[in-house]
Symmetry: C2
Subunit: 114 residues, 2 copies
DNA sequence: TTGACATATATAGATATCCTATATATTATA
DNA sequence: TATAATATATAGGATATCTATATATGTCAA
């Protein structure tokens, strides 16, 4: 991550599920897409992503299948499940509650005077 | 924390520094104030707070002094240093960048359709 | 007056998240 | 033909926060 990593935790799962809520993707693609959409703020590491994908699959939030690309390279695609969508919804609600609470402490939407 | 704890990390330091940016406080008071300001979203545990305060003091972001209350109970007050204020400013900027990046991925300020 | 609960601080050990480092293999480019 | 980019994977370590536990005082009700 480019962003101060001590400000995170747990949101990676939400972001991955959000991407897959739109379309099936393979791991490497998720890393690039996250980086692109966040203007390079998120530079998710492969060593973070792959174990996370395995965990989410084990928890039945994702399923995977292999597909061969034009260049004969085999890619492992992930697809979100109903259970995964439910979890995403909960995570988004949690995220909203969390940012609201932080902003309440910091003193309003604009964070008050800098 | 009442909020899904896997959505946090590192923000505790920012919140503590923010409280102390306003006035000197003792540990137990911070726990109560954080809970109050966030509508009970943050219920910081003593086991989280005290070691964190010791760490921040060691890093010269805070200094502490003891004071005896009316009821003869001794409290340990913390005061933010110039270094601490500088760190708070950086944390706030980091938090802003982080939430912006998340919202970019989630699809806009309102998170798009629920 | 004693027991329970709130106040107040502290440390040890467990858990979860994310990182770096490393490994493997293919494809594209210089 | 060497190097970088693509693509997935695991091991081991760092860090943040938690639970559990310990200690001690103040307050209030039975």
């Amino acid at each position: 991550m480019t962003i101060d990593k001590s400000l995170l935790t747990g949101s990676t799962t939400m972001l991955i599920l959000k991407l897959l809520d739109e379309t099936d993707m393979y791991g490497y693609q998720m890393i690039e897409e996250l980086s692109k959409r966040s203007n390079n703020a998120f530079e998710l590491k492969a060593g973070t992503l792959y174990p996370l994908l395995h965990t989410l699959e084990r928890k039945n939030m994702l399923i995977s299948y292999e597909e061969t690309a034009d260049n004969a390279r085999v890619r492992k695609y992930y697809s979100i499940t109903t259970n995964g969508r439910k979890h995403l919804k909960e995570k988004k609600e949690g995220w909203k509650a969390y940012t609201t609470a932080i902003d309440d402490v910091l003193g309003g939407a604009g964070f008050g005077p800098a």
